[in-house]
């Protein structure tokens, strides 16, 4: 299969290794990988702040860049949820782009969903000895309905002990612009999330959205707690090296 990567704006700027590793894993699974030019961002940050017109143009850019792709895979539940959940409303008055948006919805997947549900490859043969816990990010879980896929990937990692995260369903307080627009409320939320992460006894916190992980790790770092945060892709990538 020819897989087009959606390097989200956040990983593109801050965590290019996540995108790179995603490419490596997909290649390892025997697929051709390309990264269509012109792509930047799903537009969620503007959309969720109420700037719909600005969001629409960013979304249009994304739609255009993947127009000729067969499948599109991204390392974020939140960005894929934006496409699936809100693009139809965003283009409701533009039949041509509505059609293109629907086409993109049909062919786009979050990484774990794609590997487990589409490729049916939950076992990537990874080894990683550690105690980890997993934060089910809100948009992946509630908007995309991703439940088992990431857990299946993790259960197949040899040596990995997966510990339950108390109150896992609670939002970490990131919420995109929420974290800077309502910084105190956001801080209280991430403080509670950190409390549960520490209580889990894990050395590594895993997730499938770098936004949430950036938020939680940023807080843990500030309060000097030595829990490492990793995208599932990073852990799999490391584990597949050995």
């Amino acid at each position: 299969m020819k897989v087009s990567l959606f390097a989200t704006c956040l990983t593109n700027a801050f965590y290019p290794e996540v995108d790179l590793t995603m490419a490596k894993i997909l290649k390892h699974l025997g697929h051709t990988v390309d990264v269509p030019e012109g792509q930047v961002c799903c537009g969620q940050i503007a959309f969720n702040s109420g700037y719909v017109d600005d969001a629409r143009e960013v979304a249009r850019t994304l739609i255009n860049s993947f127009e000729r792709s067969e499948v599109v895979v991204g390392p974020s539940g939140s960005c894929i949820a934006m496409i699936h959940h809100y693009y139809p409303t965003l283009f409701e008055k533009e039949p041509v782009y509505l059609k293109k948006a629907e086409d993109l919805i049909q062919k786009s997947y979050e990484f774990t969903q794609f590997v487990v549900d589409v490729l049916k490859k939950p076992d990537l043969g990874a080894h990683y000895k550690a105690k980890a816990t997993y934060h089910p990010s809100c948009h992946a879980t509630r908007l995309l309905g991703i439940g088992e896929a990431p857990l299946k990937l993790l259960q197949h990692v040899k040596g990995l002990e997966l510990l339950p995260l108390p109150e896992a369903q609670l939002c970490c307080g990131f919420g995109g612009t929420f974290s800077v627009k309502m910084p105190k409320i956001s801080e209280a939320m991430v403080a509670e999330k950190a409390e549960h992460v520490l209580a889990s006894g894990a050395d590594i916190l895993l997730g499938l959205d770098m936004g949430c992980l950036m938020n939680i790790s940023g807080y843990l770092e500030k309060i000097n707690k030595p829990v490492k945060t990793m995208h599932i892709i990073q852990l799999l990538g490391e584990g597949m090296k050995s």
């Binding site: 390097a7 704006c9 990983t11 593109n12 700027a13 801050f14 965590y15 290019p16 995108d19 790179l20 490419a23 990264v35 030019e37 012109g38 792509q39 930047v40 537009g43 940050i45 503007a46 969720n48 702040s49 109420g50 700037y51 719909v52 600005d54 143009e57 960013v58 249009r60 850019t61 809100c138 948009h139 509630r142 908007l143 369903q169 609670l170 939002c171 307080g173 990131f174 919420g175 929420f178 974290s179 800077v180 627009k181 309502m182 910084p183 105190k184 409320i185 956001s186 801080e187 209280a188 939320m189 991430v190 509670e192 950036m214 938020n215 790790s217 940023g218 807080y219 770092e221 500030k222």
Partner: protein, 471 residues
């Protein structure tokens, strides 16, 4: 009413500094939430119940004219006085007049969020006919002079000790803070009040259109006392609070009780088909129904927000909301707090200056939407409110500029690449141990409590291009 005089920021600070409040809120919402899960799981097909609830509410709202008409007709046929109040002031005026006409001195109230919405107690106090709240939670906050912090559990933020302290001046001696002592004290107080009451004011959970009945659910039975002992009764209802018939009522009562408190049915479900008939042994002889609009008609006509009227005020969205969990209700500043409060307050009050902060009291995690028994897409509605606020020019200039810049850069990948590489150089003054630890606003809002990863020396798009020898 002290909370009302503070700014949003001050209210948030106050709430976050109050560990008692935060612990109490966390504990109480956890309990309600877990009870709800038990009560909804037990049905085995909760999602179907939610579908039914949503269908009924949508149908009622789409045909509200018809059902209101039917309800009023049924009521008036039997001699109930029906009053339509366009504004909160109108509603207050109507109640005031009735109280004055009867020269009533002892007004009893059971729980009614509409009375909070129209700030009724305050007005009655001015008239020297202060209403006594007979719901335990409402009684507590009435003494404390505070607005409710939760639509179902108004005194959720109070600890037992705080309640005992509030009761002390009334009792004239110290009370121990155990629940039996406190409830016994209130029961004695209430009994006297019930016997003296000349007007009863109640809320309304549902009005059954085809029979003209009013349905109230309570857990203390006080609603029953308020609606049987006084000779005159006034029921306040929001105009959307209707079910077509008892068939739908059955479903809605299940959804309400299970979602609100995790009960199969509330302890007391009171169904009144007023007024008292000659064969009835008790009940009010004179019955007034006040139906409040307060911009609900406008919401009804607004296809973006109409679903907000589907709410049955169960409070389930509060109990799963991670923002409410940290703050409790008072920080919102509005009578209705929590997710649904953040949605309906700006729509009811139509004042962005005062209520423009509410749509942002959410990380858009979607827990509210998931928890709502009638499937109101609450987090989508919050985004739509932000959209409306933005489009009507009520957001800060700086913010508008930021999103203009965002749109420019994030539709031009190559330009963004250069900007990111510039950023990678400019970040150094703020970097400690390979993390960004400060910066200009609004970045500083982040770095006050968190660090930020460094902008990568090369963005992924560049790395990929280099790997594949493109340009």
């Amino acid at each position: 009413m002290t909370m009302y005089n503070l700014t949003t920021d001050q209210r948030v600070d106050k709430a976050l500094a109050d560990n008692f409040l935060r612990q109490a809120t966390r504990r109480a919402t956890d309990r309600l939430r877990n009870n709800k899960y038990k009560a909804s799981d037990e049905l085995g097909n909760w999602e179907e119940w939610r579908n039914a609830g949503e269908t009924i509410r949508k149908h009622v709202i789409a045909n509200l004219d018809f059902y209101l008409h039917q309800l009023i007709e049924q009521m008036e046929k039997r001699g109930v006085h029906v009053h339509l109040a366009k504004t909160p002031a109108d509603a207050v005026g109507i109640v005031r007049n009735i109280v004055r006409e009867h020269d009533a001195k002892n007004v009893l109230k059971s729980k009614s969020m509409i009375s909070e919405e129209i700030h009724l107690n305050h007005a009655l106090e001015e008239d020297g006919a202060a209403a006594v709240e007979t719901d335990l939670g409402e009684y507590i906050i009435q003494i404390a002079g505070e607005p409710p912090s939760h639509i179902i559990v108004p005194a959720m933020h109070k600890t037992r000790q705080q309640v005992a302290d509030l009761f002390e001046p009334i009792a004239g001696h110290a009370l121990s803070s155990d629940t039996p002592t406190l409830t016994r004290f209130v029961r004695i107080q209430m009994r006297e009040q019930f016997l003296r009451g000349d007007i009863g004011i109640t809320g309304c959970n549902f009005a059954v259109a085809n029979t003209g009945s009013i349905v109230m659910v309570t857990n203390e039975g006080n609603g029953r006392m308020v609606s049987t002992l006084p000779r005159v009764q006034i029921t306040l209802m929001g105009m959307e609070r209707i079910v077509p018939s008892f068939r739908e009522l059955d479903i809605m009562l299940n959804l309400l009780a299970r979602s609100a408190t995790g009960q199969r049915l509330s302890s007391y479900t009171t169904i009144l088909t007023p007024p008292k008939k000659s064969a009835d042994s008790d009940g009010p002889e004179e019955y007034h129904l006040v139906i409040l609009d307060h911009n609900r008609s406008e919401i009804l006509g607004d296809k973006l927000f109409r679903t907000a009227l589907n709410c049955i005020r169960c409070g389930a969205c509060f109990n799963v909301c991670p923002v409410y969990r940290q703050l409790g209700g008072h920080a919102y500043g509005s009578v209705y707090s929590g997710p649904i409060g953040s949605v309906i307050t700006p729509l009811l009050e139509k004042d962005w200056k005062k209520w423009g902060h509410l749509p942002y009291f959410s990380s858009l995690c979607g827990a509210c939407t998931e928890g709502c028994p009638v499937r109101i897409p609450l987090h989508d509605l919050l985004v739509k409110l932000r959209m409306r606020k933005t489009q009507s020019g009520h957001t800060p200039q700086v913010e508008q500029q930021i999103f203009k810049a965002y749109r420019y850069l994030f539709t031009r990948e190559k330009t963004l690449r250069r900007a990111l590489r510039l950023g990678a150089h400019l970040q150094w003054p703020f970097v400690r141990n390979h993390r960004i630890t400060g910066g200009p606003a609004p970045l500083s809002n982040w770095t006050k409590s968190r660090t930020l990863p460094m902008v990568a020396p090369k963005p992924f798009m560049q790395i990929w291009a280099d790997l594949n020898n493109k340009r």
